[in-house]
Symmetry: D2
C-alpha cells in the first residue's frame, strides 16, 4: 500500500506515531489538502504577490483576485473552516479532532499566508469565529459569524495597546462605558491584525468597563465594533522588518468616542478576560504546526540550493563546504528535516492531550511548544537564508518574509519569557513529592544497609 501523501510534509516519525489515531474522513481530507496545496495554492502564491499594487495607498484597497478564486475552489471541495472542531463547536464545526487539524495546519505551513486564507482558516478570523460561536448571541452570530464562516467578510481582534505593557491584560487602558442604550469606546490600540483589509467589517475590542471592580479579572469586556463606525481611525500600518503585510496589515488604531448599540457586548459585562482565555488554546499549537511546516518548506528550498550545480564555488557544492547554512549535513547542532520531528511530535502529543481532556489541564502545557517551536523554526529558516546568500534576504525567495513573520510569534500571545516562567513554576511544584519519595527511599536504604551489617555513610 502506498504511504499517505502527507508523509512528504510531516515527519515519517510523527506519522508512524499518529496514523492509527486518524479517522478515515480525516485521512481523506488530509490527502485532499495536500493535493489542493500542490495543485492550487502553491502555484498561486507569486500571482497573489503580483496582484498586490506597490502603491502605498492602493495596496490597502485591494482584494486579491487569485485568492478569491482559491476560496471558491476550496469551499467547493469541502476544504473549508477545517479549524473548527465539531467536538467543541457541534453546531458549526467539522468532524476533525484538534490532532487531525494540527497536521493539516502543518501542511498549510508550506504555503505563505494565502494557504490558510484560501481555506478560511486564517487568523485572526479563526479565533474570532471561535469567540462568536462559543459566546455570541444568536443575533451576533447571524450578523457576524455566518458571513465570517462563509468567507464573505473578515475581522480584527483589537487588544494590544500602545505605550502599555498589555501582555498583562490587567494593564489595558481602553475605556468602555455604557451610555443609555449605547456603549462608548475610547482607546489607542496598535498591532491590530487584519484591520487594514477592505473586507474587514468588525473589530472585537477589549477594554475596561469596570476598572474599579475588586477582581482584576472582571474589569474587562469585549465589544463588537463595526469597522466603519464613526470614530474608528486607522492611523498607520505597523511594519515588521520593513514589511507592511498588506492588505491585512497590523494597524495602529484610535477609537475616538466610538458608539455602538448595547447588543454589541459579547457574553456580558466583565467577561472580557474569560473570553480571551478561551480564545487562545489549540490555536497556539496550530500556529506552532504551521511554523514547523514553514521551517520544513525552507529546509526543502535549502536542500535544492546546496545541491545546485550552478552554485558551486571553488569546485565544490555548497553542501560540501562546512557552512553553517548547511550544517544539517555536517554538525551535531544541526536541525535536519528529521530533527524537526522533535517539536512536531511534542506539539502533536500536546494537542492529543487537548483532545483527550477537552483542553482543561492540557491547556496549561501549551506554553512549552509556544516558546520552543518558533525559535527552532527561526533557526532553520536562518540557515536556509544563509545558503541563498543575499537572495535569501530579498524579495526573490519567501525566506526573509517568513522569518520576519515567525519572529513575531516570540511575543504574540505572550513573550517567551512568560511561557518559560510558567514551565518553571510547574516544575517547582514537583519538588515536594520528590522530597517525600527521597525520604521513603532513605528508610528502605537504611534497612538494606542494616541487613548486610553495613553502616550507611553520610
Amino acid at each position: 500500500m502506498a504511504p499517505h501523501p502527507v508523509v512528504e510534509y510531516t515527519s515519517e516519525a510523527s506519522w508512524a506515531m499518529i496514523e492509527d489515531k486518524f479517522s478515515p474522513y480525516a485521512k481523506e481530507t488530509l490527502a485532499k489538502v495536500v493535493k489542493f496545496l500542490e495543485d492550487e495554492i502553491l502555484p498561486a502564491a507569486k500571482v497573489a504577490h503580483a496582484q498586490l499594487p506597490d502603491d502605498p495607498v492602493k495596496r490597502w484597497q485591494t482584494v486579491i483576485p487569485v485568492v478569491t478564486e482559491l476560496k471558491a475552489k476550496a469551499k467547493k471541495l469541502g476544504l473549508w473552516n477545517l479549524f473548527l472542531s465539531k467536538a467543541h463547536y457541534p453546531e458549526f464545526g467539522v468532524p476533525l479532532t484538534n490532532l487531525e487539524y494540527a497536521v493539516i495546519a502543518e501542511v498549510l505551513g508550506h504555503a505563505g499566508p494565502i494557504g490558510p486564507e484560501s481555506m478560511n482558516c486564517s487568523a485572526p478570523d479563526t479565533g474570532n469565529m471561535e469567540v462568536l460561536a462559543r459566546y455570541g448571541s444568536p443575533e451576533q452570530q447571524k450578523k457576524w459569524l455566518i458571513p465570517l464562516l462563509n468567507g464573505e467578510i473578515r475581522s480584527a481582534f483589537s487588544m494590544t495597546e500602545k505605550n502599555v505593557a498589555s501582555s498583562d491584560a490587567k494593564n489595558i487602558r481602553t475605556s468602555i462605558r455604557q451610555e443609555g442604550n449605547e456603549i462608548v469606546i475610547n482607546g489607542h490600540k496598535w498591532w491590530i491584525s487584519g484591520a487594514g483589509d477592505p473586507r474587514t467589517k468588525l473589530h472585537l475590542v477589549l477594554g475596561k468597563s469596570d476598572p474599579n471592580n475588586k477582581s482584576e479579572y472582571n474589569q474587562q469586556s469585549i465589544i463588537i465594533v463595526p469597522a466603519d463606525a464613526p470614530g474608528v481611525k486607522i492611523i498607520r500600518p505597523m511594519k515588521v522588518f520593513g514589511y507592511d503585510d498588506a492588505p491585512e496589515g497590523h494597524c495602529e488604531i484610535i477609537y475616538d468616542n466610538v458608539r455602538v448599540p448595547l447588543s454589541n457586548l459579547v457574553l456580558g459585562w466583565g467577561k472580557g478576560f474569560e473570553i480571551i482565555q478561551g480564545r487562545l488554546g489549540p490555536g497556539r499549537i496550530h500556529h506552532c504546526m504551521r511554523s514547523i511546516g514553514a521551517a520544513q518548506a525552507s529546509l526543502n528550498l535549502m536542500l535544492q540550493r546546496v545541491t545546485d550545480p550552478s552554485r558551486k564555488t571553488f569546485g565544490k557544492y555548497l553542501y560540501e563546504h562546512g557552512d553553517s547554512s548547511v550544517t544539517c549535513f555536517s554538525t551535531a547542532d544541526s536541525l535536519s528535516s528529521q530533527e524537526l520531528s522533535l517539536p512536531t511530535l511534542r506539539s502533536l502529543a500536546l494537542i492529543l492531550k487537548i483532545d483527550k481532556y477537552k483542553a482543561k489541564g492540557a491547556m496549561k502545557e501549551i506554553g512549552i511548544a509556544k516558546f520552543v517551536v518558533p525559535s527552532m523554526a527561526l533557526t532553520v529558516i536562518d540557515r536556509a537564508m544563509q545558503s541563498f546568500g543575499a537572495a535569501g534576504l530579498s524579495q526573490d525567495t519567501e525566506l526573509a518574509a517568513r522569518w520576519a513573520g515567525l519572529r513575531t510569534l516570540r511575543f504574540a500571545d505572550g513573550p517567551d519569557a512568560v511561557h518559560i516562567q510558567q514551565v518553571g513554576q510547574r516544575e517547582l511544584k514537583r519538588a515536594p513529592g520528590l522530597v517525600k519519595k527521597a525520604q521513603e527511599l532513605k528508610k528502605k536504604e537504611e534497612a538494606v544497609f542494616a541487613k548486610y551489617g553495613l553502616k550507611a555513610h553520610l
Copy 2:
C-alpha cells in the same frame, strides 16, 4: 482511574501518545518494574557501592552480594530478560515489543548500572545473547547462551582495537586463522567492557580471518573465546575520567596465540560484519532511553536541591538565582522535565518503526537518536551537577559518575560524527525529488500567471 505509575518516570506527553499501543501484559510488567525499582533497586544502590572493596586488586574479584540478591528477586517476579522480544526471538523472548521495552529501559535509567544487571538486561550481555540467540549453533547456545539467559555467567564483546581507528570495522587488525581443527587468535584490544568481571566466561572476539577477500565486508569473523583460555592476557583496566567501573571494567587485552576449537566460530567464516550490523539496532535506542531516564533522575535531584531551604544563599533559594544550573526555571535554553519529552518521543517513534518494519529501513534512522540524546542528557546532568556545587562532582552524588558514563556514548557504537554524516547523506537524497516537484510547480505557476494575463518575474 488512577494514571499508570510510569507517568512519574516518563513524560506525560509520551505516555499520552503511546499508552494505547501497550498490551495489558506490557502495562502490568511496566508497573512491576516501577515497583521493583522503588522497593528494591534504588534502596540497594549505595549498598552495592559499599560492598565493592577499595583495594585495587580485590575489587576485580568481587561478586557484589546485594546484586546477586536482586537478581534472584527479579527472576522470581518474572522481570527477567525483558530486552529479548519474542517477536524477534520466538524461542527465548518475552512478549514485549521493542516500544514496550523502551519505556522499561527509560525507567531503569533512573537507577545506576545495577538496575539493568539485576534484571539480566545489562550490556554487553544483552547484545551477546542476541547474537547467540540469532546466529549461535545449538551447541553454542547450550554451552553459552543458556547460562547467560539464566544470569549465571557474564560475557564480553571484544571489538575495539588499540592504535587502530576501529570504528571503521574494516581497519580491524586482530588475526584469526584456522590451524587444523583449531582457530588461532592474535590481537590487541582495549575498552572491552565486562572483561574484568570474575563471572565473565566468554569473549566474542572480532578479527580478520580473510584479509585478502575482495569484499571488505567478508574479511571478518567472530569467535567465542573462553575467558580463561591460555593466552588471554588482561593488561589493565581503562579508566573513564577517574572511574575504573569495577568489577565489569573496560579492559585492555592481548590475545596471544589463543587457541579455541573450530566449533567456536559464530555463524560462519566471513560473517563477522553481518553479525555486528545485526547486533546493534534496538539496543542503541534502549541506550538512549536509559540516558533519558538518567537525565530525568538527575533533574529530579536538582529540583530537590534548588528548593532545599538549607541551600539558600543571600536570602534566596537556589532556584531564585539566575543560575545556569537552574535555567530550567528561567531561560529559553532550558531543558525541563517536559522538554526531555522531545527526545523521548523521537526515540519512541523510532522504536515504533522498528517494531512495524522489523528493523530494516527503520534501522538506518537510529543514528539520529544516537547523536541527539546523549548530548541532551549530558547537558541536563551538567546542570544538575552545577546546582550541587562541588558535591555534584564528587562521590557523594551519582551525578558525576553518570555524566562520565554517558560521555562515552558519544563515540560508543560510532562517534557522533559518523551518525551525523549519515543523517546528512539521507537528507541529500531527498534533493532530486524536490527539484522535480519544483519544476512541476513552475509549470503550474506559469499557467496561473498566464490565466491572469500577468508575466512571471524571474
Copy 3:
C-alpha cells in the same frame, strides 16, 4: 583627570589596552567625533528618515537635506575622510592609524547609516576611494577621486552577479573587451550598493577581460563606468527583508553594450583580482567595529527598556523576568556590554597587526573577526528586539533595520563558511610543527624515565 569621553562608547577594557597607542591628535579627533555624534548626528537621524519620501519613485531621486547639512559641518570640523590613513595613502590621508580609526568606526556604529556618510566615510565610497588613490591614474584621480574625497559625488562597486556564485571571483561572467579605443561591457549584476543614489556618478565594474588566460587570477579587469553611460540599466532595487535602503539601495543592473574610453581601465588589463584583494582589508575590520557599536547602541536601548517603570508586567520590571531578551542580567550565555569587549579587543588586536605589518600577513587573519563579530552583534540586537516586543520589529525603533543590515554581513565579502574554512586551514598548518615538538618531547621524557630507573608506559 576625567576619562576620555570614548569610554562611554567603547569598552573600558579595550580602552585600557589601547589608550597608550593613541596619538594626541587621534585622542582629540576621537573626542570631536563623540561630540559630533551626540550633538549633530544622532539628533538628525529621524529627520533624515522623515525627509525621505514614501513614494516608490521619488525616494530614489532625493538628496536628504539634513545629511547635506551634516556633511558641511563635519568637513568644517575636520571630521572628514578619516578612514584614509596617511600611512597607507600619504598624498590623501589623515594622520590616523587603522587602530585609531577603528575606534572612530565603533563610535559611528552607534548612529545609523547617516553617521559614516556625514563624515564621508561610508561604503562603498571608502573602498572605491582607496582603489582610486592606490591604483588610479592621475587623470582618473582628478576626475573621480577628488570629487569623491570632497563628498560631491558618490559611487558604486559592481561585482556581484546574478545567477552566479560570484563569491568565488573566478566565476564572474561579465564580459569586458577592447574595441579600438573603447572598452565594451556586457553583464548582469545585482546587489550593487549605492547604485540607486542620484549623486552616484561612477561604477567600478569587475568583469572578465581575458577569460582564457591560463592564470585564473589574471582574467579579470576593473573598469570605471559613468553612471549615466548609455546601456547602464538599473532594473530594480533589491530589498533586504522589506527594506529598500533608499536612496542608496542595492540594485540589479544590466550593462548592455556599455562603451567607455580605454582610459577608464583601472591599473591595467588583468589586474582586477589584485585590486579587489587590496580593496578588502582594514575595511572589513571597520565594518566589524561599526557592528560592535551598533550592538552596543542596541544594548543601551534595551537597558532603558528593561528598567522602564511603564513596562512593568505582573508587578515586575522586565529585567526581573527571566526573559531571554534580558539574559544579559541573568544567564551565563549572556552578552553584556562588558562581554562585547571580547570581539572588540580581538578586532583591535587585528587592526593593530595590520598597522604594524602593513596588512600583509595580518590580512589573512581578518576573516576571523569577519565571521565572529556579525553573529555576536546579531544576537545582541535580537535580544534587544525581544525586550521591546513588537515595537522592536517595527519602524518605531531602529533595531529591526539594524538587524537586517547586519544580517547581510554574514555573506558580504564572502560568506561565513569561506572565512571559517580559511581559519581551519591555517590551524591545520600548525600540525607538523606540533608533531615535531611532540617527538622531541618524547625523547626528553624517555631520558627522565631512564634517569629514575622507570619504564615509560605506552
Copy 4:
C-alpha cells in the same frame, strides 16, 4: 628579529597588543619559563605520575621525587615565586606586573599541576603566601611565610563547609572562640585543597568568632592551625569525577576542639571577611590564564590527532569528517586557537586594569572572566576528548583529568551564577545615565525637526 618564543603559547593577537607593556626583565623571564617548560616540566609530567603509588594509603604519604628536583632547578634559575608582584608586596615580590605574570600563568597552563608547583606558584599556597605577606605578623611571617616562600612546606586554606551554602561566607558555622591565651576551633570543612599533602604544615581556617556582631562582615576571623595540631581530623579525600588528586587532594576535615595560641590569629578579630576579599583578585585571573593555556594545549593535542594518518577512517583524516570534535576546522561555532584569543585578550585587559588601578575598582570586573573562561576552556577540551575517542577520557591522555579539574572552577570562588548576577547588576546601574542622555537627545532632535519645519512623529 625572531619573534618572542611565547608566541607559540599565547595568541599572536594578544602578544601584538601587550608586547610593548612588558619590561625587558619580564620578557627575559618569560623566555626562560618557556624554555623551562619545554626542557624540564613537560618531560617530567608522566614520570611524576609514575612515581605516585596506586596504593590508597601510600599515595598520600609521597613526596614525588621528580617534582622536588624540578623545584630545585627552578629556584636556581630564578623562576621562583613569580606570582608575587613587587608592586603589591615590595618586601617579598619579584619585579613583574600582574599582566606580565598572567602570560607566565598561561604558559604554565600547558603543563599539568606540576607546572605551577615546580616554580612555587601553586594554589592554595599562592593565596596563603599573599595573606601572610600582607596581613601576617612578623612572627607569623617568620614561622610560616618564609618556609612557604622557600618551598619547604605547603599549606591549606580551610573555608568551605559541609552541609552549608558557604559560598555566602555569612553562612559559615565553624566556631572560633578565645579561651585565655588560646583559641579553640570546632568545625566541619570539606574540599580543603592541599590538606592531604605530607608537606602541608598549616591550615588557614575561617570561622565565626563573633556570630552576634551586628555587622555580618565582622563576625569572621582567620586562624593559623598547624596541620598536626591535636583535633585536626582528616576524614577522607573528596573525589572529582573519580580522581582523588593525591597527594594534595581536597579533604573533608573535622576540627574537633583544636587549640592554638592566641598569636595564631591573623590580622585581628573580625577581620576574616576582609582577608578573604583581599585574597581573591588577581589570583582568579591567573586561574583563567592557566585555563586558557590548558585549553590551548588540548587544542594542540587535537590538531595532532585529527591530522594523524593512522586515525583515518573511511579513507579520510579525522579533520575531513564533519565531526563536532573537529569543528574548529569547519563550523561557525568553533573555537580555534585563534578564537581562544578572545578570552585571553579580555583577561589580559582586566589584569592590566588591576595593575593600573591597584585592584580597587578593577577587582569588581574579575567575575566576568571568571564565568566566561572556564566554560570556554571546557568546551575546547571536550572537543579534544571527542577527537581522541575513548582514549580521550582515559588515563592515556591528560584531557579528562584536565576537564575534571577545570569543571570545579565553575563554582570555586563562587558559582557562575553569582558572578553573572553581579555583571547584570553593574549593567543595570548604567540605565539612569542612558535615560538622561536619551532625554537630552530628544530635545536636540526636536530642535532639528523644528528647524526643517517638520513635526516629530511619536
